[in-house]
């Protein structure tokens, strides 16, 4: 089926409103071959669910095995840097398939269970309170600059066991790693600078913690090196993964979730009536409405057919969580933030086998934020008229 929808996914219009663009694709051509970027675009909830649960058909070893160039385009003189990025990213555990993926995951998964994440509640609550108190004192805030961006690094630096004096540096590295998800032509130098910085900074910490483990995340990975599951390089790039993944997605959720509530004031009023009781709903619904990660890529492990389309081995396939979450076949009134009762949801960060380890952590962190948000921000918010709001730009990745 041919569609009239164009294939340029990185235009400002599509970045500003992905839901209109991918919604049209979902209606007209749900398994769509995008000629510009040589990839399959999957947008229906049932198809995304099916894909994520059939991991043996869709390889995660994308950076390692995708023969095609980076997209959007990069400066030709940065091709060597892109090879560096491929090697760095490709060695992370999320870029490995079974059975190796499982061995790697079992080293780490205990750190991220819902129960383990619950133990972080006091620390996260105090970090959120500190940031909101500072904003309240100022009398106004930029959610992205004053809450969403500093909060995850505070928590992750603690998880990594980073000494206090190094935290500003780690925050700098985190900002550079964010370039993995950006579209600038010249993004490679900043990104690889951040990556090299990570390797240099973390390696001595691993040396220490192989010998003298603590209860931090780097010690967990160092234990994996000692067991022979991870190479040193894998320990380092997985630490980097924690920093980036926790940083970027939390910023996105907090900013876009706040924006969503600003755009749906009736829901905000409902939420304020019972923040503790409705924090879980608020978080889950924001994850659905404007997912922090918009899409995920795989490579087909073999030839296969989907809705009468033939996919070939090594074809790029990108599934759009953002679009699946707005599928009217699954969600009533999908393009509004609403209370939903007990409707089935797609897991908004990933589903299936390779669900992001960090899902309980990010979700619980957002819940903690959202619990404090209404009361702590009462005075700030009363001053925020629409003209004064600095909305975060929606994530375009």
């Amino acid at each position: 089926m041919v569609t009239a929808v164009h294939d340029d996914m990185f235009t400002p219009n599509v970045i500003a409103d992905p839901y209109g663009y991918y919604g049209r694709l979902r209606d007209e051509d749900p398994v769509h071959w995008n000629d510009n970027y040589a990839l399959w675009v999957i947008t229906r909830h049932d198809d995304v669910t099916w894909l994520t649960r059939h991991h043996e058909l869709f390889s995660s070893a994308v950076f390692k095995n995708d023969p095609r160039p980076a997209y959007p385009d990069i400066d030709e003189s940065d091709l060597g840097l892109y090879e560096y990025v491929r090697h760095y990213q490709g060695d992370q555990f999320i870029q490995h398939d079974r059975p190796v993926h499982l061995d790697m995951r079992r080293i780490m998964h205990g750190y991220f269970t819902p129960k383990a994440m619950e133990s972080w509640r006091p620390f996260v609550v105090s970090a959120v309170k500190e940031l909101l108190d500072a904003a309240e004192e100022k009398g106004s805030m930029d959610v992205m600059r004053d809450l969403a961006t500093p909060l995850p690094v505070l928590v992750i630096a603690q998880m990594m066991g980073v000494p206090a004096q190094d935290r500003p540096y780690v925050r700098e590295l985190a900002e550079k790693l964010l370039y993995i998800g950006r579209g600038e032509y010249d993004r490679m130098p900043i990104l690889t600078d951040g990556m090299k910085g990570m390797l240099e900074y973390v390696s001595p910490l691993v040396d220490e913690r192989i010998v003298k483990p603590g209860d931090d995340f780097i010690s967990v990975l160092a234990g994996g090196e000692k067991k022979g599951v991870f190479t040193r390089h894998q320990v380092l790039v997985n630490t980097s993964l924690l920093l980036l993944a926790g940083h970027e997605t939390t910023i996105n959720l907090l900013c876009n979730g706040t924006l969503a509530f600003m755009q749906h004031r009736d829901q905000w009023e409902l939420f304020k009536e019972d923040p503790a009781g409705r924090a879980k709903w608020a978080t889950e619904e924001c994850l659905r409405y404007d997912a922090p990660v918009k899409s995920i890529q795989r490579l087909a492990s073999q030839d296969l057919e989907m809705r009468d389309k033939v996919m070939h081995k090594e074809d790029r396939i990108r599934w759009f969580i953002s679009s699946a979450n707005r599928d009217p076949n699954v969600f009533a009134d999908p393009d509004r933030l609403t209370s939903r009762g007990s409707q089935t949801r797609t897991s908004p960060l990933a589903t299936g086998f390779t669900i992001a380890s960090g899902r309980p952590w990010r979700a619980s962190r957002a819940r903690k934020c959202s619990r404090l948000w209404p009361s702590a921000s009462r005075d700030c918010r009363s001053r925020l008229k629409s003209s004064n709001i600095n909305p975060a730009s929606p994530s375009g990745r």
């Binding site: 269970t113 819902p114 299936g352």
Partner: protein
């Protein structure tokens, strides 16, 4: 004498992560929808089953004492 357990996976929540199957493969098996099912609650130790339940990132596994009904997890 080992406790007898009732083990249930909530299919409205289960996303097919399959850590449970990896930890206690005699107890948990993915069905044709690739969601986990507790096919044999006696297939492993109580500790292993609780470890599997705890490992579920979406808290879809419920464990109770089959005799007393006492909820053991979550």
């Amino acid at each position: 004498m080992a406790r007898k357990l009732r083990v249930r996976v909530d299919h409205a929540t289960c996303v097919g992560n399959a850590m449970c199957e990896a930890i206690a493969p005699k107890v948990f098996r993915l069905n044709e929808n690739r969601q986990s099912e507790a096919v044999d609650p006696d297939g492993d130790t109580v500790e292993k089953i609780l470890e599997a339940a705890e490992s579920c990132p979406v808290s879809a596994i419920f464990v109770e004492d089959a005799e007393t009904g006492e909820q053991l997890f979550p």
